[in-house]
Symmetry: C2
């Protein structure tokens, strides 16, 4: 973590700036192709990104909801969408190792099985 | 809203039961095809669904994460996935009316534009 005067000072070399915000003219997330090297910028809950940041963005993306989601939900959905699309592009699908991931990630109280 | 002794008593006529839970043998959400008429059942945060509910499920789905998400995030991601997939199947894509949706859904302080 580091402090910067502007988010634009923190963009890593070679990364594409992707703003996630309800902005007219934005691309709907289901139709968006994520850059491999992306720097995602999310707006605050009570307000919006600065126009200067949006002006510098390589892409502006919105999540098509009725009403707006809070920040945590927005980040979860954005990262899920990136993961889901990247899996579809891989020939050797990591979801084939799903049971191992499930055993690592589930609650320790969870001993369910699909019979 | 109504109270029932078991979730299984609340399944609407004709609906498919879809459990969302980290269960070995479950289908990864990116690969899941949602039934048109679905009754989604989510597990509690500290524990899991009852085996009896999982046994009755038409499908059991997990979200492939490192660690598990909280309930609100899980619901957001599940419903986003359903929406994203349903849009892809529609010839007359409702995302084409995106700007109207954005104007209705954005924060009143948000007057940004993609230039």
């Amino acid at each position: 973590m580091r402090s910067v005067d502007s988010l634009l000072d923190a963009v890593p070399e070679g990364a594409k700036i992707v703003c996630i915000e309800l902005v007219e003219g934005a691309v709907a997330l289901p139709e968006f192709e994520h850059p491999e090297n992306a720097f995602y910028v999310f707006g605050p809950e009570d307000g919006s990104l600065e126009q200067a940041v949006v002006d510098r963005a390589d892409a502006v993306v919105y999540i098509p909801t009725i009403g707006c989601m809070n920040l945590a939900a927005t980040v979860n959905v954005l990262l899920y969408d990136r993961m889901a699309k990247s899996y579809q592009q891989q020939a050797n699908n990591p979801l084939d190792q799903g049971d191992q991931l499930i055993r690592q990630s589930r609650d320790t109280n969870n001993l369910l099985q699909v019979k």
